[in-house]
Symmetry: C2
Subunit: 307 residues, 2 copies
Protein backbone atom coordinates (compact mmCIF):
# COMPACT_ATOMS: atom_id res chain seq x y z
CA UNK A 1 0.00 0.00 0.00
CA UNK A 2 1.43 3.35 -1.00
CA UNK A 3 1.16 6.26 1.40
CA UNK A 4 0.26 8.54 -1.48
CA UNK A 5 -3.00 6.67 -1.94
CA UNK A 6 -3.59 6.09 1.76
CA UNK A 7 -6.46 8.25 3.04
CA UNK A 8 -5.78 7.60 6.74
CA UNK A 9 -2.45 9.43 6.92
CA UNK A 10 -3.17 12.16 9.46
CA UNK A 11 0.05 14.04 8.87
CA UNK A 12 0.90 14.35 5.17
CA UNK A 13 4.12 16.12 4.20
CA UNK A 14 6.41 16.55 1.17
CA UNK A 15 3.50 15.91 -1.18
CA UNK A 16 1.94 19.25 -2.10
CA UNK A 17 3.68 22.18 -3.74
CA UNK A 18 2.28 24.54 -1.15
CA UNK A 19 2.81 24.52 2.61
CA UNK A 20 -0.20 23.58 4.75
CA UNK A 21 -0.91 23.50 8.46
CA UNK A 22 -2.61 20.49 10.09
CA UNK A 23 -3.85 20.31 13.66
CA UNK A 24 -2.23 17.81 15.94
CA UNK A 25 -4.56 14.83 16.33
CA UNK A 26 -2.71 13.22 19.23
CA UNK A 27 -2.29 14.21 22.87
CA UNK A 28 1.04 15.63 24.01
CA UNK A 29 0.82 13.99 27.43
CA UNK A 30 -0.53 10.46 27.05
CA UNK A 31 -0.26 9.57 30.74
CA UNK A 32 -3.16 7.59 32.15
CA UNK A 33 -1.88 7.09 35.68
CA UNK A 34 -1.15 10.61 36.91
CA UNK A 35 -1.14 9.58 40.55
CA UNK A 36 2.21 7.86 40.22
CA UNK A 37 3.82 10.57 38.13
CA UNK A 38 7.63 10.76 38.34
CA UNK A 39 7.43 14.56 37.87
CA UNK A 40 5.18 17.17 39.49
CA UNK A 41 1.92 18.38 37.93
CA UNK A 42 3.42 21.78 37.03
CA UNK A 43 6.19 20.06 35.07
CA UNK A 44 3.58 17.94 33.28
CA UNK A 45 1.58 21.05 32.40
CA UNK A 46 4.77 22.74 31.20
CA UNK A 47 5.59 19.86 28.86
CA UNK A 48 2.03 19.83 27.59
CA UNK A 49 1.93 23.58 26.89
CA UNK A 50 5.49 24.28 25.75
CA UNK A 51 6.34 20.93 24.23
CA UNK A 52 9.59 20.61 26.15
CA UNK A 53 11.02 20.46 29.65
CA UNK A 54 14.49 21.07 31.11
CA UNK A 55 15.23 19.10 34.29
CA UNK A 56 18.44 20.41 35.86
CA UNK A 57 20.92 18.11 37.56
CA UNK A 58 19.16 14.81 36.80
CA UNK A 59 22.61 13.22 36.56
CA UNK A 60 25.46 14.03 38.96
CA UNK A 61 28.78 15.48 37.84
CA UNK A 62 30.38 12.11 38.69
CA UNK A 63 27.98 10.33 36.37
CA UNK A 64 28.57 12.92 33.65
CA UNK A 65 32.31 12.25 34.03
CA UNK A 66 31.70 8.53 33.46
CA UNK A 67 29.60 9.26 30.35
CA UNK A 68 32.16 11.70 28.96
CA UNK A 69 34.99 9.28 29.48
CA UNK A 70 33.08 6.69 27.46
CA UNK A 71 32.21 9.30 24.85
CA UNK A 72 35.89 10.22 24.43
CA UNK A 73 36.78 6.55 24.12
CA UNK A 74 34.19 6.04 21.37
CA UNK A 75 35.33 9.13 19.46
CA UNK A 76 38.95 8.14 19.59
CA UNK A 77 38.22 4.55 18.72
CA UNK A 78 39.59 4.23 15.23
CA UNK A 79 36.76 1.96 14.18
CA UNK A 80 34.24 4.72 14.81
CA UNK A 81 35.65 6.67 11.90
CA UNK A 82 35.01 3.92 9.40
CA UNK A 83 31.62 2.89 10.68
CA UNK A 84 28.46 3.69 8.75
CA UNK A 85 26.96 4.69 12.07
CA UNK A 86 29.04 7.85 12.27
CA UNK A 87 28.01 11.16 10.70
CA UNK A 88 30.60 13.90 10.15
CA UNK A 89 30.47 17.70 9.83
CA UNK A 90 29.94 18.67 6.23
CA UNK A 91 32.95 20.96 5.92
CA UNK A 92 35.45 19.96 8.57
CA UNK A 93 34.92 16.19 8.59
CA UNK A 94 34.78 16.23 12.41
CA UNK A 95 32.61 13.52 13.99
CA UNK A 96 29.12 14.94 14.53
CA UNK A 97 27.04 11.96 15.65
CA UNK A 98 27.53 8.31 16.55
CA UNK A 99 24.29 6.36 16.24
CA UNK A 100 22.72 3.30 17.87
CA UNK A 101 24.68 3.59 21.12
CA UNK A 102 21.76 1.95 22.98
CA UNK A 103 22.50 -1.18 20.96
CA UNK A 104 26.24 -1.13 20.46
CA UNK A 105 27.52 0.24 23.76
CA UNK A 106 27.08 -1.52 27.09
CA UNK A 107 27.08 1.65 29.20
CA UNK A 108 24.72 3.67 27.01
CA UNK A 109 22.43 0.69 26.70
CA UNK A 110 22.00 0.79 30.49
CA UNK A 111 21.43 4.56 30.44
CA UNK A 112 18.61 4.07 27.92
CA UNK A 113 16.60 2.19 30.54
CA UNK A 114 17.59 4.39 33.48
CA UNK A 115 14.42 5.05 35.46
CA UNK A 116 15.27 8.75 35.85
CA UNK A 117 14.72 9.33 32.14
CA UNK A 118 12.94 6.25 30.79
CA UNK A 119 10.44 6.43 33.67
CA UNK A 120 9.49 9.96 32.64
CA UNK A 121 9.24 8.90 28.99
CA UNK A 122 7.00 5.96 29.93
CA UNK A 123 4.82 8.26 32.00
CA UNK A 124 4.47 11.01 29.36
CA UNK A 125 3.84 8.50 26.56
CA UNK A 126 1.36 6.55 28.65
CA UNK A 127 2.85 3.04 28.71
CA UNK A 128 5.66 0.81 27.58
CA UNK A 129 8.29 2.33 25.33
CA UNK A 130 11.22 1.24 23.15
CA UNK A 131 14.12 3.14 21.62
CA UNK A 132 13.45 4.36 18.08
CA UNK A 133 16.86 6.00 17.76
CA UNK A 134 19.84 6.87 19.94
CA UNK A 135 23.00 8.84 19.39
CA UNK A 136 25.89 10.73 20.82
CA UNK A 137 26.02 14.25 19.39
CA UNK A 138 29.14 16.39 19.26
CA UNK A 139 28.98 20.02 18.25
CA UNK A 140 32.65 20.92 18.09
CA UNK A 141 33.91 24.32 19.20
CA UNK A 142 34.87 26.94 16.59
CA UNK A 143 33.37 25.12 13.61
CA UNK A 144 29.93 23.86 14.67
CA UNK A 145 27.48 24.69 11.91
CA UNK A 146 23.87 25.85 12.33
CA UNK A 147 21.02 23.36 12.02
CA UNK A 148 17.72 24.67 10.64
CA UNK A 149 14.25 24.40 12.18
CA UNK A 150 12.53 21.04 11.85
CA UNK A 151 10.09 18.68 13.51
CA UNK A 152 11.64 15.27 14.15
CA UNK A 153 8.23 13.67 13.77
CA UNK A 154 7.94 15.01 10.23
CA UNK A 155 11.05 12.99 9.28
CA UNK A 156 10.13 9.92 11.32
CA UNK A 157 6.65 9.94 9.82
CA UNK A 158 7.63 10.48 6.18
CA UNK A 159 10.96 8.66 6.07
CA UNK A 160 10.47 5.95 8.71
CA UNK A 161 6.70 5.42 8.77
CA UNK A 162 5.99 6.38 12.39
CA UNK A 163 2.17 6.66 12.45
CA UNK A 164 1.30 8.98 15.36
CA UNK A 165 2.74 11.59 17.67
CA UNK A 166 3.52 9.39 20.62
CA UNK A 167 7.29 9.68 20.87
CA UNK A 168 9.68 12.07 22.57
CA UNK A 169 13.35 12.91 22.62
CA UNK A 170 15.51 12.96 25.71
CA UNK A 171 18.83 14.78 25.58
CA UNK A 172 21.29 14.35 28.45
CA UNK A 173 23.65 17.35 28.40
CA UNK A 174 27.25 16.18 28.71
CA UNK A 175 28.67 19.72 28.52
CA UNK A 176 27.29 23.02 29.77
CA UNK A 177 24.93 24.45 27.15
CA UNK A 178 25.01 28.25 27.14
CA UNK A 179 23.76 30.94 24.74
CA UNK A 180 27.35 31.04 23.45
CA UNK A 181 27.87 27.50 22.18
CA UNK A 182 24.93 26.96 19.88
CA UNK A 183 22.35 25.46 22.25
CA UNK A 184 19.08 23.84 21.26
CA UNK A 185 16.47 26.45 20.33
CA UNK A 186 12.77 25.60 20.34
CA UNK A 187 9.51 27.25 19.35
CA UNK A 188 7.32 26.51 22.42
CA UNK A 189 3.80 25.61 21.33
CA UNK A 190 4.79 24.70 17.77
CA UNK A 191 4.26 21.02 18.65
CA UNK A 192 0.48 21.61 18.39
CA UNK A 193 0.71 22.20 14.63
CA UNK A 194 1.92 19.91 11.90
CA UNK A 195 3.44 21.86 9.03
CA UNK A 196 3.30 20.19 5.64
CA UNK A 197 6.79 20.68 4.21
CA UNK A 198 7.31 21.33 0.52
CA UNK A 199 9.74 19.32 -1.60
CA UNK A 200 10.13 15.66 -2.48
CA UNK A 201 12.63 13.62 -0.47
CA UNK A 202 15.79 12.75 -2.43
CA UNK A 203 17.16 9.19 -2.30
CA UNK A 204 19.49 8.43 0.60
CA UNK A 205 18.36 11.66 2.19
CA UNK A 206 19.17 10.43 5.70
CA UNK A 207 22.92 10.85 5.34
CA UNK A 208 22.63 14.34 3.94
CA UNK A 209 19.89 15.37 6.36
CA UNK A 210 21.91 14.48 9.43
CA UNK A 211 24.56 16.94 8.27
CA UNK A 212 22.37 19.67 6.88
CA UNK A 213 18.65 19.27 6.58
CA UNK A 214 17.11 20.81 3.47
CA UNK A 215 13.96 18.72 3.05
CA UNK A 216 11.42 18.43 5.82
CA UNK A 217 12.09 22.07 6.73
CA UNK A 218 8.97 24.24 7.07
CA UNK A 219 8.64 27.22 4.75
CA UNK A 220 9.86 30.62 5.99
CA UNK A 221 6.35 32.11 6.19
CA UNK A 222 5.06 29.32 8.45
CA UNK A 223 8.15 29.59 10.65
CA UNK A 224 7.79 33.36 10.84
CA UNK A 225 4.14 33.01 11.87
CA UNK A 226 4.94 30.42 14.55
CA UNK A 227 7.76 32.53 16.01
CA UNK A 228 5.47 35.57 15.92
CA UNK A 229 2.88 33.61 17.92
CA UNK A 230 5.11 31.73 20.32
CA UNK A 231 8.63 33.21 20.31
CA UNK A 232 11.85 31.23 20.63
CA UNK A 233 13.27 29.55 23.76
CA UNK A 234 16.81 28.34 24.38
CA UNK A 235 17.29 25.07 26.26
CA UNK A 236 20.38 25.99 28.27
CA UNK A 237 21.64 24.13 31.31
CA UNK A 238 24.63 22.63 33.06
CA UNK A 239 26.08 19.25 32.21
CA UNK A 240 23.90 16.55 33.79
CA UNK A 241 20.66 18.38 33.01
CA UNK A 242 18.15 16.63 30.77
CA UNK A 243 15.96 18.15 28.06
CA UNK A 244 12.79 16.25 27.13
CA UNK A 245 11.04 17.42 24.00
CA UNK A 246 7.98 16.34 22.11
CA UNK A 247 8.51 14.57 18.77
CA UNK A 248 6.75 17.34 16.85
CA UNK A 249 8.19 20.52 18.39
CA UNK A 250 10.11 22.71 15.95
CA UNK A 251 13.73 23.04 17.00
CA UNK A 252 17.15 23.86 15.59
CA UNK A 253 20.45 25.36 16.65
CA UNK A 254 22.75 28.19 15.68
CA UNK A 255 26.42 27.76 14.86
CA UNK A 256 29.06 27.32 17.54
CA UNK A 257 32.08 29.61 17.13
CA UNK A 258 32.95 29.46 20.84
CA UNK A 259 35.87 27.29 21.96
CA UNK A 260 33.39 25.17 23.93
CA UNK A 261 32.18 21.96 22.32
CA UNK A 262 28.62 20.88 22.96
CA UNK A 263 27.92 17.20 23.52
CA UNK A 264 24.83 15.30 24.45
CA UNK A 265 23.53 11.78 24.74
CA UNK A 266 20.29 11.45 22.90
CA UNK A 267 17.47 8.87 23.08
CA UNK A 268 14.18 8.79 21.21
CA UNK A 269 11.49 6.92 23.11
CA UNK A 270 8.48 5.67 21.20
CA UNK A 271 5.35 3.99 22.58
CA UNK A 272 5.14 0.28 21.67
CA UNK A 273 1.71 0.86 20.06
CA UNK A 274 3.31 3.38 17.70
CA UNK A 275 5.96 1.23 16.01
CA UNK A 276 6.88 2.20 12.48
CA UNK A 277 4.94 0.76 9.54
CA UNK A 278 6.48 -0.03 6.20
CA UNK A 279 3.35 1.02 4.32
CA UNK A 280 3.41 4.50 5.84
CA UNK A 281 6.89 5.24 4.59
CA UNK A 282 7.34 7.01 1.29
CA UNK A 283 10.67 5.47 0.18
CA UNK A 284 13.04 2.62 0.84
CA UNK A 285 13.80 2.42 4.55
CA UNK A 286 16.56 4.36 6.28
CA UNK A 287 19.26 2.15 7.82
CA UNK A 288 18.21 0.52 11.08
CA UNK A 289 20.90 2.33 13.05
CA UNK A 290 18.95 5.54 12.36
CA UNK A 291 15.45 4.11 12.84
CA UNK A 292 14.68 0.90 14.72
CA UNK A 293 12.66 -1.44 12.50
CA UNK A 294 13.00 -4.81 14.21
CA UNK A 295 13.25 -4.73 17.98
CA UNK A 296 10.06 -3.28 19.42
CA UNK A 297 10.21 -5.06 22.78
CA UNK A 298 9.33 -2.88 25.77
CA UNK A 299 12.39 -1.37 27.38
CA UNK A 300 13.37 -2.83 30.73
CA UNK A 301 13.34 0.20 33.03
CA UNK A 302 15.29 0.13 36.27
CA UNK A 303 17.40 2.06 38.74
CA UNK A 304 20.98 2.39 37.57
CA UNK A 305 24.22 3.39 39.26
CA UNK A 306 27.35 4.29 37.32
CA UNK A 307 29.79 5.45 39.99
Amino acid sequence: MNIRENPVDLYPSRRLNEPAWYDRRDPVVHADDRENAPIGPERVREFDQNGYLVLPGLFSSEEVAVFRHELDRIREDARTGDSGETIRERESGAVRSVFAVHRNNALFSRVAGDERIAGIARFLLGGDVYIHQSRLNFKPGFIGEPFPWHSDFETWHVEDGMPRMRALSCSILLTDNTPFNGPLMLIPGSHRHFIHCVGKTPDNHYRMSLQKQEYGVPDPESLGELVFRYGIDMATGSAGSVVFFDCNILHGSGGNISPFPRSNLFYVYNHIDNTIQDDLREKSPRPSFVAEREVFAPLDIQQEHYV
Copy 2:
Protein backbone atom coordinates in the same frame (compact mmCIF):
# COMPACT_ATOMS: atom_id res chain seq x y z
CA MET B 1 60.15 48.28 0.59
CA ASN B 2 58.81 44.86 1.43
CA ILE B 3 57.14 44.33 4.78
CA ARG B 4 58.92 41.02 5.15
CA GLU B 5 62.25 42.81 5.39
CA ASN B 6 60.90 45.74 7.37
CA PRO B 7 62.12 45.60 10.97
CA VAL B 8 59.73 48.30 12.26
CA ASP B 9 56.51 46.33 11.80
CA LEU B 10 55.14 46.12 15.33
CA TYR B 11 52.41 43.63 14.51
CA PRO B 12 53.62 40.84 12.24
CA SER B 13 51.11 38.20 11.15
CA ARG B 14 50.74 35.42 8.55
CA ARG B 15 54.52 35.02 8.39
CA LEU B 16 55.56 32.33 10.88
CA ASN B 17 54.37 28.75 10.96
CA GLU B 18 53.61 29.00 14.64
CA PRO B 19 51.18 31.33 16.40
CA ALA B 20 52.70 34.08 18.55
CA TRP B 21 51.33 36.69 20.92
CA TYR B 22 52.51 40.30 20.78
CA ASP B 23 51.65 43.02 23.26
CA ARG B 24 49.66 45.96 22.05
CA ARG B 25 52.03 48.92 21.58
CA ASP B 26 49.32 51.54 21.14
CA PRO B 27 46.82 53.07 23.55
CA VAL B 28 43.19 52.02 23.32
CA VAL B 29 41.90 55.49 24.26
CA HIS B 30 44.00 58.12 22.47
CA ALA B 31 41.98 61.07 23.79
CA ASP B 32 44.07 64.10 24.80
CA ASP B 33 41.23 66.44 25.76
CA ARG B 34 39.22 64.51 28.31
CA GLU B 35 37.50 67.61 29.64
CA ASN B 36 35.30 67.91 26.57
CA ALA B 37 34.51 64.22 26.32
CA PRO B 38 31.24 63.36 24.54
CA ILE B 39 30.81 60.32 26.84
CA GLY B 40 31.21 59.96 30.61
CA PRO B 41 34.47 58.81 32.26
CA GLU B 42 32.95 55.40 33.16
CA ARG B 43 32.12 54.77 29.52
CA VAL B 44 35.67 55.75 28.54
CA ARG B 45 37.09 53.35 31.13
CA GLU B 46 34.75 50.62 29.88
CA PHE B 47 35.95 51.05 26.29
CA ASP B 48 39.54 51.04 27.47
CA GLN B 49 39.17 47.87 29.55
CA ASN B 50 36.72 45.82 27.49
CA GLY B 51 37.57 47.11 24.03
CA TYR B 52 33.95 47.85 23.18
CA LEU B 53 30.96 49.90 24.24
CA VAL B 54 27.22 49.62 23.59
CA LEU B 55 25.35 52.95 23.67
CA PRO B 56 21.59 52.28 23.68
CA GLY B 57 19.17 54.51 21.79
CA LEU B 58 21.74 56.82 20.19
CA PHE B 59 19.40 57.06 17.20
CA SER B 60 15.61 57.39 17.54
CA SER B 61 13.19 54.87 16.10
CA GLU B 62 12.14 57.52 13.54
CA GLU B 63 15.75 57.85 12.39
CA VAL B 64 16.13 54.07 12.25
CA ALA B 65 13.03 53.95 10.04
CA VAL B 66 14.65 56.45 7.65
CA PHE B 67 17.85 54.39 7.52
CA ARG B 68 15.98 51.13 6.98
CA HIS B 69 13.91 52.60 4.22
CA GLU B 70 17.10 53.63 2.45
CA LEU B 71 18.64 50.22 3.15
CA ASP B 72 15.67 48.45 1.56
CA ARG B 73 15.91 50.74 -1.44
CA ILE B 74 19.60 49.91 -1.90
CA ARG B 75 19.02 46.17 -1.57
CA GLU B 76 16.20 46.17 -4.06
CA ASP B 77 18.06 48.38 -6.46
CA ALA B 78 18.88 46.06 -9.31
CA ARG B 79 22.25 47.69 -9.85
CA THR B 80 23.35 46.65 -6.39
CA GLY B 81 23.30 43.02 -7.44
CA ASP B 82 25.78 43.55 -10.25
CA SER B 83 28.07 45.90 -8.44
CA GLY B 84 31.50 44.81 -7.32
CA GLU B 85 30.74 46.53 -4.05
CA THR B 86 28.25 43.88 -3.00
CA ILE B 87 29.20 40.69 -1.19
CA ARG B 88 26.80 37.76 -1.06
CA GLU B 89 26.23 34.80 1.29
CA ARG B 90 28.38 31.89 0.21
CA GLU B 91 25.58 29.34 -0.07
CA SER B 92 22.35 31.23 -0.61
CA GLY B 93 23.58 34.12 -2.74
CA ALA B 94 21.64 36.57 -0.55
CA VAL B 95 23.17 40.06 -0.27
CA ARG B 96 25.42 40.15 2.79
CA SER B 97 27.18 43.52 2.58
CA VAL B 98 27.09 46.66 0.45
CA PHE B 99 30.34 48.61 0.74
CA ALA B 100 31.41 52.25 0.48
CA VAL B 101 28.03 53.69 1.42
CA HIS B 102 29.79 56.75 2.93
CA ARG B 103 30.95 57.57 -0.60
CA ASN B 104 28.14 56.37 -2.82
CA ASN B 105 25.05 57.20 -0.81
CA ALA B 106 24.02 60.73 0.13
CA LEU B 107 22.20 59.77 3.32
CA PHE B 108 24.83 57.40 4.68
CA SER B 109 27.53 59.91 3.79
CA ARG B 110 25.84 62.37 6.17
CA VAL B 111 25.50 59.72 8.88
CA ALA B 112 29.27 59.06 8.67
CA GLY B 113 29.94 62.60 9.96
CA ASP B 114 27.06 62.66 12.47
CA GLU B 115 28.46 64.16 15.66
CA ARG B 116 26.75 61.52 17.80
CA ILE B 117 29.04 58.81 16.45
CA ALA B 118 31.90 60.60 14.65
CA GLY B 119 32.36 62.88 17.67
CA ILE B 120 32.92 59.85 19.90
CA ALA B 121 35.31 58.33 17.35
CA ARG B 122 37.28 61.58 17.15
CA PHE B 123 37.45 61.73 20.94
CA LEU B 124 38.54 58.10 21.46
CA LEU B 125 41.10 58.24 18.64
CA GLY B 126 42.44 61.61 19.84
CA GLY B 127 41.95 63.86 16.81
CA ASP B 128 40.74 64.13 13.25
CA VAL B 129 39.46 60.98 11.60
CA TYR B 130 38.48 59.72 8.16
CA ILE B 131 36.49 56.69 7.00
CA HIS B 132 38.67 53.67 6.21
CA GLN B 133 35.68 51.50 5.29
CA SER B 134 31.90 51.61 5.46
CA ARG B 135 29.19 49.11 4.76
CA LEU B 136 25.63 48.00 5.23
CA ASN B 137 25.51 44.47 6.65
CA PHE B 138 22.57 42.14 6.31
CA LYS B 139 22.45 38.87 8.18
CA PRO B 140 19.34 37.29 6.73
CA GLY B 141 16.98 35.24 8.85
CA PHE B 142 16.99 31.41 8.61
CA ILE B 143 20.22 31.16 6.59
CA GLY B 144 22.75 33.53 8.19
CA GLU B 145 26.04 31.69 8.49
CA PRO B 146 28.50 31.92 11.39
CA PHE B 147 31.53 34.18 11.12
CA PRO B 148 34.67 33.06 12.97
CA TRP B 149 36.76 35.03 15.48
CA HIS B 150 39.08 37.65 14.05
CA SER B 151 40.70 41.01 14.74
CA ASP B 152 39.84 43.56 12.05
CA PHE B 153 43.19 45.26 12.64
CA GLU B 154 45.01 42.08 11.69
CA THR B 155 43.42 42.23 8.23
CA TRP B 156 43.76 45.99 7.86
CA HIS B 157 47.40 45.78 8.88
CA VAL B 158 48.41 42.82 6.72
CA GLU B 159 46.17 43.34 3.71
CA ASP B 160 45.74 47.15 3.68
CA GLY B 161 48.92 48.40 5.38
CA MET B 162 47.34 50.19 8.36
CA PRO B 163 50.36 50.88 10.59
CA ARG B 164 49.04 51.25 14.14
CA MET B 165 46.05 50.50 16.34
CA ARG B 166 44.33 53.86 16.12
CA ALA B 167 41.04 52.96 14.44
CA LEU B 168 37.66 51.77 15.65
CA SER B 169 34.44 50.37 14.27
CA CYS B 170 31.04 51.84 14.85
CA SER B 171 27.99 49.68 14.19
CA ILE B 172 24.54 51.29 14.19
CA LEU B 173 21.99 48.55 14.84
CA LEU B 174 19.14 48.80 12.35
CA THR B 175 17.30 45.78 13.78
CA ASP B 176 17.06 44.47 17.32
CA ASN B 177 20.05 42.27 18.06
CA THR B 178 19.16 39.45 20.47
CA PRO B 179 20.87 36.23 21.54
CA PHE B 180 18.60 34.51 18.99
CA ASN B 181 19.62 36.18 15.74
CA GLY B 182 23.37 35.75 15.69
CA PRO B 183 24.54 38.95 17.40
CA LEU B 184 28.11 40.22 17.54
CA MET B 185 30.16 38.28 20.09
CA LEU B 186 33.36 39.76 21.52
CA ILE B 187 36.19 38.62 23.77
CA PRO B 188 36.49 41.63 26.13
CA GLY B 189 40.16 42.38 26.83
CA SER B 190 41.44 40.53 23.78
CA HIS B 191 42.22 43.90 22.15
CA ARG B 192 45.32 44.15 24.39
CA HIS B 193 47.00 41.24 22.60
CA PHE B 194 47.98 40.88 18.99
CA ILE B 195 47.83 37.26 17.86
CA HIS B 196 50.11 36.34 14.98
CA CYS B 197 47.91 34.28 12.67
CA VAL B 198 49.31 31.30 10.81
CA GLY B 199 48.87 30.84 7.05
CA LYS B 200 49.85 32.87 4.00
CA THR B 201 47.18 35.12 2.46
CA PRO B 202 45.82 33.79 -0.85
CA ASP B 203 45.41 36.18 -3.80
CA ASN B 204 42.13 38.08 -3.93
CA HIS B 205 41.51 37.00 -0.39
CA TYR B 206 39.25 39.96 0.32
CA ARG B 207 36.27 38.58 -1.60
CA MET B 208 36.48 35.18 0.04
CA SER B 209 37.22 36.60 3.49
CA LEU B 210 34.13 38.79 3.52
CA GLN B 211 32.03 35.65 3.07
CA LYS B 212 33.95 33.25 5.23
CA GLN B 213 37.26 34.18 6.78
CA GLU B 214 39.83 31.38 6.87
CA TYR B 215 43.09 33.35 6.96
CA GLY B 216 43.77 35.91 9.64
CA VAL B 217 41.95 33.69 12.12
CA PRO B 218 43.82 33.03 15.38
CA ASP B 219 44.68 29.42 16.21
CA PRO B 220 42.25 27.47 18.44
CA GLU B 221 44.70 27.30 21.37
CA SER B 222 45.16 31.07 21.50
CA LEU B 223 41.41 31.61 21.24
CA GLY B 224 40.78 29.06 23.96
CA GLU B 225 43.29 30.78 26.24
CA LEU B 226 41.78 34.23 25.62
CA VAL B 227 38.23 32.99 26.29
CA PHE B 228 39.47 31.22 29.41
CA ARG B 229 40.95 34.51 30.62
CA TYR B 230 38.27 36.94 29.53
CA GLY B 231 35.07 35.09 28.61
CA ILE B 232 32.70 36.02 25.80
CA ASP B 233 30.26 38.95 25.67
CA MET B 234 27.29 39.44 23.36
CA ALA B 235 26.63 42.93 22.03
CA THR B 236 22.84 42.87 22.07
CA GLY B 237 20.60 45.93 21.88
CA SER B 238 17.55 47.48 20.28
CA ALA B 239 17.55 49.07 16.87
CA GLY B 240 19.09 52.54 17.16
CA SER B 241 21.74 51.43 19.62
CA VAL B 242 25.37 51.82 18.60
CA VAL B 243 28.27 49.46 19.26
CA PHE B 244 31.77 50.95 19.20
CA PHE B 245 34.62 48.47 19.17
CA ASP B 246 38.36 48.72 19.06
CA CYS B 247 40.10 47.76 15.81
CA ASN B 248 41.95 44.89 17.48
CA ILE B 249 39.26 43.22 19.62
CA LEU B 250 38.51 39.62 18.67
CA HIS B 251 34.92 39.24 17.54
CA GLY B 252 32.70 36.97 15.47
CA SER B 253 29.11 35.82 15.27
CA GLY B 254 27.11 32.61 15.33
CA GLY B 255 24.64 31.58 12.66
CA ASN B 256 21.16 33.05 12.44
CA ILE B 257 18.40 30.45 12.09
CA SER B 258 15.75 32.76 13.57
CA PRO B 259 13.25 34.41 11.24
CA PHE B 260 14.69 37.79 12.28
CA PRO B 261 17.25 39.36 9.95
CA ARG B 262 20.05 41.34 11.52
CA SER B 263 21.14 44.55 9.81
CA ASN B 264 23.58 47.23 10.74
CA LEU B 265 25.26 50.28 9.30
CA PHE B 266 28.95 50.06 9.81
CA TYR B 267 31.72 52.70 9.73
CA VAL B 268 35.43 52.28 10.40
CA TYR B 269 37.02 55.48 11.66
CA ASN B 270 40.77 55.83 11.40
CA HIS B 271 42.98 58.65 12.73
CA ILE B 272 44.45 60.83 9.95
CA ASP B 273 47.97 60.14 11.24
CA ASN B 274 47.37 56.41 10.74
CA THR B 275 46.59 56.31 7.02
CA ILE B 276 47.49 53.11 5.23
CA GLN B 277 50.94 52.70 3.70
CA ASP B 278 51.65 50.79 0.55
CA ASP B 279 54.99 49.51 1.85
CA LEU B 280 53.37 47.93 4.90
CA ARG B 281 51.03 45.81 2.86
CA GLU B 282 52.02 42.28 1.96
CA LYS B 283 50.22 41.92 -1.40
CA SER B 284 48.55 43.92 -4.15
CA PRO B 285 45.99 46.29 -2.66
CA ARG B 286 42.40 45.38 -1.91
CA PRO B 287 39.86 47.37 -3.92
CA SER B 288 39.35 50.91 -2.64
CA PHE B 289 35.70 50.24 -1.82
CA VAL B 290 36.94 47.90 0.92
CA ALA B 291 39.88 50.01 2.12
CA GLU B 292 40.20 53.75 1.48
CA ARG B 293 43.54 54.51 -0.19
CA GLU B 294 43.09 57.99 -1.61
CA VAL B 295 40.85 60.29 0.39
CA PHE B 296 42.40 60.91 3.80
CA ALA B 297 40.86 64.32 4.41
CA PRO B 298 39.52 64.84 7.94
CA LEU B 299 35.83 64.12 8.17
CA ASP B 300 33.55 67.10 8.53
CA ILE B 301 31.70 66.40 11.77
CA GLN B 302 28.39 68.08 12.47
CA GLN B 303 24.94 67.79 13.96
CA GLU B 304 22.57 65.98 11.63
CA HIS B 305 18.78 65.63 11.48
CA TYR B 306 17.06 63.03 9.35
CA VAL B 307 13.39 63.33 10.25
